[in-house]
Amino acid sequence: MAAQQPFIGRVTRCSTRGFVGVVRLPEPHLPAFGSFCQAEAQQGLSRVFGLIYNISIEDDDFARQIASIEHAPPEEILDNQQNRQVPVEFHALAIGYEMDGKTCQTLPPQPPLSLAPIHVMPDAMVESFTRKLDFLTLILNSSTIPADELVAAALGHAARIRAQADQEEFLITAGRQCARMLSHDLIRLETILKGLHNQL
């Protein structure tokens, strides 16, 4: 099933906490901050679900030369944007996995292997996965990522793929879950709730 979803890159570095993927520009389905993705692990026995929290374009001295030219011809600009193998690197936080038909919202037992294909998680799967919100703990407990913004972006994405009538209810439920988890840190909670409000 995963193979039928849009391909967004391949794993280059990984651990059980997450994985880093690389994709060449331009792809029709560029990864976006807060979007859900999946990569095969354990020789196809399991799938690791990830949430994209960082997208970067590697530094490139050659492109920098072109950037410094005031009136660079459009053909050379397009060459750098479309042809050159300057990869977009994206980082995904592991938020769960699927094995033997069962979905778990905890860290996976094994990470995907290098060069494992990374695909977009289909809307139906995102909708199903986000019926439970235990994965928010994995995000909120990560100290090295923009966790609060990621929670808001991921929940906003999960809300938008639902029917119009269900979106507000989903976000209110998610907001309550965040309130339970962050009852000890009202400043963070306020940031997330404001972010969720903006998704409405």
Partner: protein
């Protein structure tokens, strides 16, 4: 680190001193040579008389109808034209590897100026492992010079393919080397049974480009030639003294043309056209591909390009103007070296990691056939030692 810095430090100091003294000595020659260039009043026929008297072994710049001191500003550039470039790299055979092969990798790019479209790029990779490729004739394992020459043929062949593909006209095509095939230049060292087919193939590709009326140019950055200096030194000799014997015994320590011209040629200007005197060029001339050259100041610090063009470009003012203005336009983006050539190189270059991947894939292919590939002990020890070095404490 393997360098013995204690031994090297005094040598480095002497190297610096020597280079400085050499530069001073060269600078002392500059004013006289520049004056000789600027004040040159000899006619083309008079200069050809000097060259005739110098004999066939004289290596220098033969003047054309353009006065040797004349410089030419950049002509206007047509808004729509195509820029083609090709470059190649190779993996030479290694008898310590799991099996004997060589690889040629050609990068090519076509930019259609004015189209507002991304250029077409392509990399052609070809493995050579047949006996006929590895052991041509009865001369043992193929010499690297033959492999390099086959790469040159593939590069110019890639240009010819693109030129025939019907891109926007006019078409400028560039190579990152001399147009006189290198193997032909060193033909005394390469058996003619091996070099002649390669040279013939190269000339066939030149024919295809000429038939397409392509503005072909070989671009050489930091040229190491002294052809123009040799001409000026020859013209500074009394005509009565000039003879093949005199040339053989003349002092060959020369200034480079680029040292002479870098600060003399205005930005964007090209020098006069010259013909390189060499037996190879005489052979090329007989077939209608005489190679001419000019120097070009692309406008970046201490940068000077030598641009080689075939006669069919030199004799057509519109093609010559396209090469002049087109190369300048390309150099604007990449600090004095044409963008398309830089990209063709990027598309062609085989990195160390590419090479490792290739070798691993070859070993897998052999394993699938039930073979047990192994590299030589020497190669294995080298890789172990180099891996150890990568963990050196910094």
């Amino acid at each position: 680190m393997s360098l013995n810095l204690n031994q090297l430090l005094p040598q480095l100091q002497y190297l610096g001193q020597h280079t400085h003294q050499h530069a001073l000595k060269q600078a002392a020659q500059l004013p006289a040579l520049l004056e000789a260039l600027q004040q040159s009043s000899l006619s083309q026929a008079d200069m050809l008389e000097y060259i005739h008297r110098a004999g066939m072994d004289w290596r220098g710049a033969i003047p054309t109808a353009e006065p040797i001191h004349q410089t030419f500003p950049a002509p206007a550039l047509t808004p729509r034209f195509s820029i083609l470039a090709a470059d190649g790299s190779q993996v030479h055979p290694d008898r310590h590897a799991a099996c004997i092969f060589f690889l040629l990798n050609i990068g090519q790019i076509c930019i259609e100026r004015g189209s507002k479209q991304a250029p077409n790029t392509h990399t052609h990779s070809e493995l050579f492992y047949h006996e006929t490729d590895l052991y041509p004739g009865d001369f043992g394992l193929v010499d690297n010079s033959i492999i390099n020459a086959r790469r040159d043929v593939m590069e110019i062949g890639a240009l010819a393919d693109m030129a025939e593909a019907g891109h926007s006209r006019p078409v400028m095509a560039m190579l990152d080397n001399s147009l006189l095939l290198w193997i032909a230049l060193r033909s005394p060292e390469v058996p003619s049974q091996l070099s002649e087919p390669v040279v013939a193939d190269y000339q066939k590709q030149l024919d295809r480009l000429r038939n397409q009326r392509t503005a072909l140019a070989g671009v050489i950055d930091r040229p190491g030639s002294s052809n123009l200096v040799a001409l000026l030194q020859l013209l500074g000799t009394p005509l009565d003294h000039v003879s093949p014997d005199f040339i053989r015994h003349a002092n060959k320590a020369r200034l480079l043309d680029r040292t002479l011209l870098t600060n003399w040629l205005p930005v964007g200007y090209r020098s006069a056209l010259f013909i390189q005197s060499s037996p190879v060029n005489r052979d090329f001339e007989k077939l209608g591909y005489q190679i001419q050259f000019f120097y070009l100041n692309p406008g970046f610090k201490d940068s000077l390009l030598r641009v080689e063009i075939p006669a069919w470009v030199a004799e057509q003012p519109d093609l010559l103007a396209l090469v002049h203005a087109g190369i300048l336009d390309q150099c604007r983006l990449t600090n004095g070296f044409p963008y398309a050539l830089a990209r063709a190189h990027e598309l062609a270059v085989v990195s160390q990691s590419d090479r490792r991947l290739l070798e691993q894939s070859i070993q897998q292919s052999l394993l699938k056939q039930g073979m047990r590939p192994h590299i030589s002990q020497k190669s294995r020890q080298k890789s172990l030692l180099s891996a150890r070095r990568s963990f050196d404490i910094r």
